[in-house]
């Protein structure tokens, strides 16, 4: 035998032994160094968690009527484990179930596919939950369907029909409040990851949020999701390798979600919605005298009823609106398109806190104390010509009215713009005009800020709009953002417009040239426009309601809110929701008192008198402070505003209504506001019966609704 053979045998021997050493090394790594990972994996291997969802808390109005509750629905579910056990993977079973519940077989089949597996439909069609949980295929089964399947269990293995809680928006008394309530949607992977917690052993617990959970997507459902959600019950099962259950390791019961008591009064909410719709209808049947009697489009509108003392929102409505129940059980594509389409004027947007509109003459509530700050006496008399010269250009009154030399009060009663032009223009000149002194403080824009404009109110709803104050710095920023566009247009002109309308094209080109050259300049005209709520300043109806509430309550800038308290399902108070006021107005008590008296006179002898007169409103018994607004919007019909508070001598509520492209404040919104006050103070004919008012007493309830032992909620006493 060769030496070579011997040598190679030695090499082979070394090779074999090194392989064995490798094995032992790997064993050491797995069993000693990284043992913990595998011990944990083994534990997860052997257990499964079954989740019992908690009942979501109700959303109640201030008198305990449910605005959002849970309705029991008959839910048919199919067990995936049972489907897999069948020869055809459950195809035939799905076909039978689909036939009974009257749905297309493919739809039901798609619902039983696990998301992310081959051939599964994209969410939300596929099943996003645990494969060990029965998969719901319909929540609209009726008793007959359930009986068909439950009485022939052998034909429907693994199929269950159970009563399950489904969200329901009952719309008590017709109060829709869709934009305020919001809706629920399936949880996303991102939210799951963000909210999952790891226990000390590192295993992920799913107790916070489940794959199958619904989560508040917007509105109160979203804002108070954590309170309403509750905690799910978890049953930890031991399973074998086939997923068969061999025992129960641990079990916790679900904790139902707490109730949210809101400041909304369903009565008032329903009436506000009706009156808003009435105002819209009124506008649509009214011709615009300035535009050849073309009917108003009244594309949208909003109304806000605010508790002036606390900022609690008693009612808030927006038009167009929608049925919040369309979201329950997943919204259909057609419904979603309808909610978000331009053709329908975006019913999903609330005009009350998301819509931004020029406030028009209702803004004089801010210009008045600003003028006082600028040095104009409330007792003085001022000229009210039909037009006022600003740097040579004449700026007219609404409908070119002229009233001669009038008092400040009279100027507000008749809503004389030229008086305010004078205040603003002279103040602007004093401030340095086009070239302001360093550190100058324009009292008009300062006052707008003090009233909380240009900023979110802090309302407890997502996606609130801030509006804007078109002051010097805004103009400069806007010019910076747009000058490239205007400078290009100044060079090229508007050939596409010129083809059909050469005059307009020339005008647009001149405008572009001006904007390009010195668009940043805050002109005298800008200051004048600002004082009467025209131009580029925008507010939400909610912001204006808060402005009038502040004047009414003696100068406190309240934080509007819908939440009033969180209570347990047994009625125990968890916490009060009473956000602190945002600040106090820099206005003397005397000026505020003067303003209240003046606004009260507006409803008696001023521009707001008409609607109250026509409604035979008993102003003597229940005085109302009011201001009208008819904001002109370039290229559109005017915006109707009606801002009020009452009782004017001891204010409880501020009511503001706005109708976009709706015409005059007094003609369109005024009558509706008067009707809302009739409900708020129990007015029938000339009688004021506060006991018959909604809410009773002519003021918002001060105590919370109570929960009786049987679970029913009753109004506070």
């Amino acid at each position: 035998m060769s030496q070579r053979s011997r040598l190679r045998l030695v090499v082979l021997q070394v090779l074999v032994m090194s392989l064995l050493v490798t094995l032992v090394g790997r064993l050491w790594y797995l069993q000693v160094l990284t043992k913990d990972n595998y011990v944990r994996a083994a534990a997860e291997n052997r257990t499964r968690e079954i989740v019992t969802p908690a009942a979501r808390g109700m959303i109640l109005d201030s008198r305990g009527r449910p605005l959002a509750r849970n309705r029991t629905a008959l839910v048919v579910s199919i067990s995936r484990t049972e489907m897999l056990r069948q020869r055809d993977g459950g195809r035939a079973l799905v076909a039978k179930v689909a036939a009974v519940i009257g749905q297309p077989e493919q739809d039901v089949w798609d619902k039983t596919r696990l998301c992310g597996t081959p051939g599964a439909a994209p969410p939300p069609k596929c099943w996003n939950g645990s494969p060990y949980q029965p998969i719901p295929v319909t929540d609209e089964a009726d008793t007959a369907m359930a009986l068909q399947m439950m009485e022939r269990r052998e034909d429907f293995p693994g199929v269950t029909a159970e009563l399950t809680a489904v969200r329901d928006y009952p719309q008590p008394l017709g109060a829709n409040a869709a934009h305020e309530l919001g809706y629920l949607g399936p949880v996303t992977d991102k939210e799951l990851a963000a909210r999952s917690v790891r226990t000390s052993s590192g295993a992920r617990t799913a107790a916070v949020l489940q794959r199958t959970d619904l989560i508040g997507r917007t509105g109160l459902e979203s804002e108070y999701d954590a309170d309403l959600r509750g905690a799910p019950g978890v049953r930890t099962l031991t399973v074998d390798h086939q997923g068969g259950v061999s025992g129960v390791l641990a079990q916790t019961q679900p904790t139902p979600g707490n109730y949210l008591v809101t400041t909304i009064d369903a009565d008032v909410q329903a009436e506000a919605e009706r009156q808003l719709k009435a105002a819209i209808d009124r506008a649509r049947s009214t011709g615009d005298i300035n535009k050849g009697y073309a009917k108003y489009k009244a594309d949208s509108g909003a109304v806000v009823v605010l508790d002036v003392n606390t900022g609690g929102i008693v009612a808030m409505a927006s038009y167009p609106t929608y049925d919040p129940n369309v979201w329950v059980g997943g919204i259909s594509t057609a419904d979603y398109k309808a909610l978000t389409s331009r053709g329908n004027n975006y019913p999903n947007q609330s005009r009350a806190f998301q819509g931004e509109f020029a406030p028009g003459s209702t803004f004089k509530a801010i210009s008045t104390p600003a003028a006082v700050k600028a040095g104009y006496s409330l007792d003085g008399t001022y000229p009210c010509p039909s037009a006022y010269s600003i740097g040579g250009a004449m700026k007219g009154n609404y409908e070119s009215e002229a009233f001669g030399q009038i008092s400040f009060r009279r100027a507000i009663q008749v809503s004389c713009d030229t008086v305010f032009y004078k205040f603003a223009y002279e103040t602007w000149l004093k401030d340095g005009g086009l070239h302001p002194r360093a550190g100058s403080r324009d009292p008009f824009t300062q006052m707008a800020k003090a009233f909380g404009l240009g900023k979110r109110t802090g309302l407890d709803l997502p996606s609130e709009s801030a509006g804007r104050i078109a002051d010097r710095s805004w103009k400069r920023a806007y010019w910076k953002a747009t000058k490239t566009f205007y400078c290009a247009k100044a060079k090229t002109g508007y050939p596409e417009v010129a083809r059909t309308d050469p005059a307009r094209a020339t005008y647009l080109r001149r405008l572009s040239k001006e904007n390009c050259a010195d668009g940043y300049a805050y002109r005298g005209g800008d200051a004048a426009n600002f004082a009467i709520g025209q131009g580029d300043t925008l507010t939400t109806p909610l912001q204006m309601a808060r402005v009038y509430a502040a004047i009414a309550n003696g100068g406190t800038l309240v934080t509007p809110h819908l939440g009033s308290a969180i209570i347990t399902p047994e009625g125990q108070l968890v916490r009060r929701i009473a956000p602190a006021p945002a600040g106090h107005l820099p206005i003397s008590a005397a000026t505020l008192a003067w303003m209240r008296t003046t606004f009260r006179s507006v409803s008696e002898v001023g521009t707001a008198a008409g609607p109250f007169l026509r409604a035979s409103f008993p102003l003597a018994k229940l005085p109302v402070g009011a201001k009208t607004g008819t904001a002109e919007v370039y290229g559109k019909q005017s915006t109707s505003w009606f801002a009020t508070f009452a009782p004017a001598d001891k204010p409880e509520y501020a009511v503001v209504m706005m109708v976009s492209q709706g015409g005059t404040g007094s003609g369109i919104s005024g009558p509706s506001v008067a009707e809302i006050y009739k409900l708020l103070f129990g007015i029938t004919g000339q009688q004021v019966d506060l006991a018959a008012a909604s809410p009773p007493g002519g003021h918002p309830p001060t105590t919370l609704p109570t929960v009786l032992p049987d679970g029913t909620v009753v109004a506070p006493r």
């Binding site: 053979s5 074999v16 490798t22 790997r26 064993l27 990284t34 043992k35 083994a42 291997n45 074998d240």
Partner: protein
Amino acid sequence: MSVGYRPAPYTVAPPSRSARMLRSDSAVRRLDWVLLIAVLGLCAVGGALIWSATREPAASSGGDPTAFLKKHILNVGIGLVLAVVASVVDYRMLRAYAPIIYCLSLGGLLAVLSPLGTTINGSHSWIVLPAGFSIQPSELAKVALVVGMAMLLSEKRDAEDTPRDVDVFMGLMLAAVPLGLVMLQPDLGTAMVVSAIVLGLVAVSGAPLRWVVGLVLGAIVVASVAVQAGLLKSYQLDRFRAFYDPSADPKGAGFNVRQAQIAIGSGGFHGEGLFHGAQTQGKFVPAQQTDFIFTVAGEELGFVGAALVVALIGLVLWRGCRIAMGAEDLFGRLVATGVVCWFGFQAFENIGMTLGIMPVTGVPLPFVSYGGSSMFATMLAVGLLQNVHMRRYA
């Protein structure tokens, strides 16, 4: 030595039976006892592990919880008889029978591919016999291959020190036929073991280095061509892919690997105790009494027990190498070498796949896994080792 010394005549009684056994040249004295004890130790550990892995499902379906254990003991018994047979006949005589053994094994492999064959666990490797028995001819073919190739490669020993190219070529041809048949089943694991045997035999035969290098390179080329040309079944490729990334498809190909590692890793240093492995008793690891038997050792006996199994295998391989080294002729050395390569690679492949360092292929762990054919073949091989060992001075 003194000259002219004449020893006195003497007579002795014929030695008693026991004395005969204790004589230095008796079969019993010449047995490699370390090898035998290591093999029996592995069989015993295997019995315990098989029992643990199979008693629960059998009991819950009303069967005999010790059914697999009993059959394993029976297999060991039959195996030992075969080992005795293989060790009694002088291995040099085997050279004469080698062609017959080889042809018989080819017959078996062909029979598998004929309608007689049955598919179990994705491999068409079985012949089902009456009375609940089934055999896997590819296991027995390994024995035939070892003997046949050893014979060819040691044939021309008188004139030359090393096999000529023609001998190596003949030997490779000899191996190619069963290798091809095994690949047709397809039984990738056995094919890999056969390749390891061929490589080891050619190397130790003293064949020129170009053959050894050529074989290694050839194996790499064949493997890459097979993958490129799609000759492998998709499930085979999946198993290899799962080897690279077990988490890629945790419910499919990666499932076995993942579950096996969880079982072994969770055993820790001391193990969870026999019959107390949660993974094992919950049947989370598939094919656990056969290909994945090592996971039971890992989980229930811990690092201590698993390392003991590796050590026992090491002992067998070490004795095998010693026997090859001490063999009287090249034929004996090559037979022993072939067996060492066989056991060594198969054990490494089997344990390696449960530890996630080798791809999943269905080869049993010698002496430990449940299965008759494997037990008989490996016991025959042990008999051959003993045979070579006992006749090293004769």
